[in-house]
Structures are given as C-alpha cells and as structure tokens.
Assembly symmetry: C2
Homo-oligomer: 236 residues x 2
Amino acid sequence: MKDASRRRKQELFEHLKMCVMTQRLQPGTDLDEATLSEEFKLSRTPLREVFRQLAGEGYLELRENRGARVSGMSYTTLRDFFLAAPMVYGAILQLAAKNAKPEQIDRLKNAQKEFKIALRSGSGADRAMSNNLFHEITGEMADNIYLLPSFKRLLIDHARIGMTFYRPQDANMAENLSVASAQHDAIIAAIEASNEAAAGQLAIDHWNLSRDQIELFVTPAGLDLPLGSMARKTPA
Amino acid sequence: MKDASRRRKQELFEHLKMCVMTQRLQPGTDLDEATLSEEFKLSRTPLREVFRQLAGEGYLELRENRGARVSGMSYTTLRDFFLAAPMVYGAILQLAAKNAKPEQIDRLKNAQKEFKIALRSGSGADRAMSNNLFHEITGEMADNIYLLPSFKRLLIDHARIGMTFYRPQDANMAENLSVASAQHDAIIAAIEASNEAAAGQLAIDHWNLSRDQIELFVTPAGLDLPLGSMARKTPA
DNA sequence: AAAATTCAATTTGTATACAATAAAAAAATA
DNA sequence: TATTTTTTTATTGTATACAAATTGAATTTT
C-alpha cells in the first residue's frame, strides 16, 4: 500500500524533471501544490519534499510563503552557461575517457542509438531527453562527486536551451543536429580508446556547436529579397 | 508565533551545516529525527524538509526508510577533491576578479580580518568557518549559477579536510596556515585589481598548499632518533 | 550452541487538520 | 472615480496521528 505511493512520488519527481527540461513547464512557471497533489494522488507532505529536492538540483526555485516555480532563464544565464559549460564538460569527458567501465560504454552506445532514432522520428522533447541521457551517462562515467552538481545543473539548461533555440524548418539547424550526432560518435570512440585529450577537445567542439545554434536563432540568415524603399545608395 | 518556528528551522539548518563542516558531526554519522525535533522544538515535517535541502547541497545523504546521515568521506573522495578543486576554484576566482563589486570586496576584506583573528585565538572550528566564509564570498563574486553548485560542494569538504588534517602542534602546519593567510591577501589584491590571470594562478597555489598540508599529515617528518636494533648496515 | 524465525520496539513515511501568511475582492473614504 | 482600508478567500507552513518498514530481542528449531 505504501509501495504504491512511493512509486507515485518517484513518478512525480521524474515527471516534473521532464517537464522542466522539455519546457512543457517554462522557466518562471508557478507550481500549484493542490493541483499536483490531486493529479498524482499524493498528499502535500511528500509533494513538498519532492519540491525541495528538485530545488536542490536546480529544477525549481522555492520562495518563502509563495510556493515553487520553475527555475528562470535569462540572457545573463545564457552567457554564464557558455562560459561554464566547455570547462565543466571538458573535465567530465576527460575523466569519462579515463574511468569509463565497459558496462557504461555499452549504455552510452545504446543512448546514442536512441538519440539517433529521436533525431529521425521523435519530437523535440524526445530529442532533448535522449540527448540528456547520453550526457548523463558521461557524467556517471567521470565519477567525481565534486563536478557532478555543476554538470547536472548545466544539463538541465542544455536541454532547455536546445528546446528553445531550435527550429526544425531551418536547414542549417538540421545540419547542426547531424553534426552533433557525429560528435557523439566521436565522443564514444574517444572514451572507448581512453583518449583523454581527444575527449576534452570534443567537449569544447560540442558546446561551440550549441553556441552556433543559438547564433543561428538570434541572427537568422537574411531574407533573399531587396527591401524596396529601405534600400538606399551608400553616400559618395 | 509562526515567525519563531521559522527562525528555529533556519537555526537548525545553519547548525547542521556548521556541525558537518567542523566535523562535530563526522562523515557517516546517523541523524535522529526525534532527538533533533525535540532539541529544536520543531515537528518532524519541517525538520525533514531541512534534511532534504541539506542533502541537495551535499551535506547529508538520505537513505530510503533509513534516515539521514552525514555525507561520507573516503580516500577516493579526497583524490576526486584535489582533481576538481583547482579547476573549479580557478574559474571562480577568475570570474571573481572580473565581476566583483566594491561592496563585495569590502565584505571579503572583513572576512579575511576575521580569519586572521581566528588564526591567532580561535578554535579549529572558528578557523574553518571563517575560512569558509572567505571562500563563499569569492563564489558570490563570481556570480555564475552553473559553477556554484560544485564550488559549494567543494567548500564543504574543504572545511572538513582542514579540520581532519591539521595538527596545531606541528610547526610546518602552523607555517602553512600563515602562508594560506598571505595567499588570501594576495587573492584580495588580485580581485581588487581585476587581475584575472593572477587570481587564477593564486587559486591553484592555494589548493596545492592544502594538498601539501595533507601530505604533512600522511607522511610526517621522521623522528630524529636512531631506531636502535632496526638500524643495520647497508649490504656491501 | 548456532542459525533461523517470530514478535515487539523503534524509526521512517504519509495523510490530514489546523495555523499563519499572502492574494483577491469588497467596502469605505477621499 | 480613484485610492485606501477592510474583509474574504486561497495558499503555504507546521503539528499531530496513523501506517509501513526496519531493527533488535526473544523464542524456536536444527
């Protein structure tokens, strides 16, 4: 009887994680205890414990007497993100190349397989979640409790950024994704070969690609039409 | 009336943090809900929320149906620690030099003043806590939410390692502390001058000093006495 | 006597009731 | 009518009661 509520609690936990990462719950969204409590057939006590834990991991923010909300994302955080990501992920991948166990490499290959499937047929959310799993496994491989907290925090926003700044209609962006997939393959190879240097470099390349994708979003290719009246001669 | 219990909750939170960092609660210690509940005049509900939050920040570990315990420390974690610390702290200090605000620099100088006082007259715990405050302020200066989680996790064990591997009787260790204090001064200077490169280098020096201190503990200077029967001539 | 099993005691987890705070709506004042 | 104040409603936080699980002792079995 209690086993069931324990399961529901875990489900809520995973559900909220997923919703945050896929932007089904956008940054800044307020969460209602009563509603979730009813939806997941959980009393408020365990529900609030889930909130606390998610807040600890960076998914939510708790405000005194004012409930939980999804962690915010601003242009400042975006800048902070690309400052920290190459470094932390570079370290994680180097350590992964050093410490990965065969069983973990198997799982990483499997995650990459899933990622490729999601690339073809899946939704944006599927893509983000399978990509996230890939990276989470590299974090597990690195096996350093002092780097993991920041790494996991980065992964949350990596997923969210991916969901925000991707338009499947854009050919450049589709191309970007297949490059990302190729990089995953190269990462697997570097880890399997215990090539720390290569893994570290791939991490940097991988994040630079993410940055490029955002630039494609922020600075789209110019329309191929003259703007008529707005076009004027350069002064002589 | 509720304001009071809110304060007790905060007190419990800070108290447990302090106990973990100063090793008054050693790694692996089990925490008893009932006892703490009575001691701090708090019901178990808010108490458990505190546990969750502390677990999220790395102070405690929660085990299903088996209560909370103080996060463990092993020789593996020590190795992980010195692998991650120079990198993360290097980044934090570089960013601190870049972003520190005058008000923060004032507080940092003040923290250093307190640290020096603790060095002279304070207990080991005072020393650890004032040193911790110094570093926490640098983290605040860096102002990057993606690096902070790992940084804070490192600071917990930095304090614990300091408490574990320091013997005030040892002249070398006392000397180490005054070097550490001088490094703090240099860090303040680098931050005030916005000298990122210097700040980054100082971070590495600072953590190398911590590592040296552990080596002094693990490999003490040989006793200055011949060991009698154990001394034997080298074979010709 | 050693190992396994059962039973009691302790401890952890969840639900519900109540208290306190914040938000919203209604009434009163300018 | 706009603004302030009061009242009502909704939401958050805490305490307590109960249910489930774990631990340890006592009993039984081999």
